[in-house]
Symmetry: C2
Subunit: 348 residues, 2 copies
């Protein structure tokens, strides 16, 4: 049997409270994952074999400035969980709530993988019939072209290693399909990705996609900056919710509509399961030395246990190593700083 | 009775062909609008009183590079229509299809209004229960903070003059509600708008909105750069279409669902009318010396006649003059170049 994987989990990031996270840890433990659970031991209740509680009662889940809180609160449960991963006591990190805190805790304690400029948050969107992995959804509000280039290969490598995508179709999100559309930075990234993707077989770069194509299955991995990605994912959430509400409203506005709605309900339940955001476990923090998965604060034990399962799969499938191998094959790794020490020590 | 308004209309921008545009012109003429119709006279058929055909058979509607085509094709119908507006032969422009061509034809021939940095395309989104005006949706892929500041006041002034919004709530689209969220340019624009809006009663600046809030009625006018705006509007189109299709698919996947769907259909038809994009007539080209309205290429005569009606309303309500007055009251007009000739003639 394979060596068990240990996942460090922050118990303080769920709206339903630390006990819900403990329940998720128990589900994961029953599947054979070892969980290091960082949270208020007094509130966590009994845990089964396979879950070890580390008493870490300090929570920064509600801090107004999560990044500052990560810096100033080394005893916070999320920081301690990330530190355990950085120190090799656990193989991957699972936390929830504010993604800013997750990114900061990861960057400071797990550290960026060698040759990666910036970590990215990749969110799997369970679009019916055409799921996509969207990145970056908020780790980097401003990016340079070389960051977008890395995101493309990082997203593709993760999709291949963990999400079962054979040769992911990767696209850049833009305001038109032509390679010349978009900001100058985006056009430059497009050229770079096209040139570098030609040399690797791990992905199929399909160019630009527009907003309409995001939900139409035009690509498996959609790459953008963290500002546009964050706006996009929240628009997708907002618009789908609004359309579903509008339909429910018309369905309940007449007797005839009510009967129709009732007849449709079982079929709609299947659709709802298909687009359940808890299924994919949350957003994936890519580009660090180990995998991180950030579940939504409102997830239940099911979604959080899925986050732990994805983290474990990332470890077993060696997602970090395979990502770096793809970046290297594409010539997209940052050139080593140590190769030119003068640029570090001498102000120019 | 008020002086009739003359609208210059390009007949070559509709997917259904020039005759559909001629039919729209006839609808507008029946309402008392004068239409100068630029298109292939031989294909336009008979037109009623109030419509004057100007034979302009050259179309650049399918040109691969619309902006280049506008520059290189002075005889194109869209360019001639815009020129007629610039020369004062018509009071407003209506055209369809590629917005790039519309913006270029407008900027070159109608010219920017004095003190306006950049024109913007504002699109009314018929979200059920919470319609919004989104700008810029594609005229400017890259913007500076002062452009966003002008867009905020331009959108609000147009909403007030033409769309019947009393004191529009104006917001910036960002990746978080806090004023510090977003790119540095966006944060700067936020500060500027907040400071300048305090001095004018024409709008209520409500700060940042996230993607989820766009469809929730948090603002009447949502301001962003043309890249993000274009991605956003196409996402809204794509996601709403995908959700409706998914529901139709489950409704037709079982006998029970089919009966339910049939019972719901009449109520859904009402919803469809409410969100019909043809109702608001298309996107509004703001910041020129006269009003422009750009209908979607796939619009029918109904939507195109709505575009003409909005253009006429803009003229009657003196939207351009009122926009400039608001920009002036807010201190948001570009400082006149002629006021400091040294800065033009002397390189610094």
């Amino acid at each position: 049997m394979a060596e068990p994987v240990t996942v460090a989990v922050d118990a303080n990031g769920a709206d339903l409270g630390p006990r819900e996270v403990a329940a998720a840890a128990a589900i994961a433990a029953a599947r054979g994952t070892r969980v290091l659970l960082f949270g208020p031991a007094a509130e966590l209740g009994d845990v089964p074999d396979g879950v070890r509680v580390v008493d870490a009662p300090v929570s920064i889940a509600k801090a107004p400035d999560p990044v500052a809180a990560v810096r100033s609160t080394p005893e916070a449960s999320i920081v301690r969980a990330a530190r355990a991963v950085g120190a090799g006591e656990a193989d991957a990190l699972v936390c929830g709530g504010a993604t800013g805190a997750a990114v900061a805790a990861g960057v400071f304690n797990i550290k960026r993988a060698r040759g990666v400029y910036r970590p990215a948050l990749a969110l799997p969107l369970p679009i019916p019939g055409a799921p996509i992995l969207l990145l970056d959804v908020g780790a980097n509000v401003e990016v340079r072209p070389e960051h977008l280039v890395q995101f493309a290969f990082m997203g593709a490598a993760f999709g291949r290693a963990v999400l079962g995508l054979d040769r992911p179709r990767v696209a850049l999100l833009s305001n038109g399909e032509e390679p010349t559309r978009g900001t100058p930075d985006l056009v430059e990234a497009h050229e770079e990705i096209a040139a570098r993707a030609a040399g690797v077989s791990d992905l199929d770069f399909v160019g630009n996609v527009e907003g309409t194509q995001v939900t139409e299955g035009a690509a498996d991995v959609v790459v953008t900056d963290g500002f546009t990605g964050n706006v996009a994912l929240k628009l997708i959430e907002g618009v789908s919710g609004t359309v579903l509400r509008a339909i429910r409203d018309v369905a309940t506005s007449s007797a005839r509509g009510k009967v129709g709605g009732a007849l449709l309900r079982p079929a709609l339940r299947g659709l709802r399961d298909q687009i359940d955001p808890e299924g994919p476990g949350g957003a994936y923090l890519l580009g660090l030395r180990r995998i991180g998965v950030v579940h939504h604060g409102r997830f239940t034990r099911y979604g959080i246990s899925q986050a732990i399962a994805v983290a474990e799969r990332g470890v077993r499938e060696r997602a970090v190593e395979r990502t770096l191998a793809v970046l290297e094959a594409a010539g997209a790794l940052r050139r080593s700083v140590s190769a030119s020490p003068a640029s570090v020590s001498t102000p120019s």
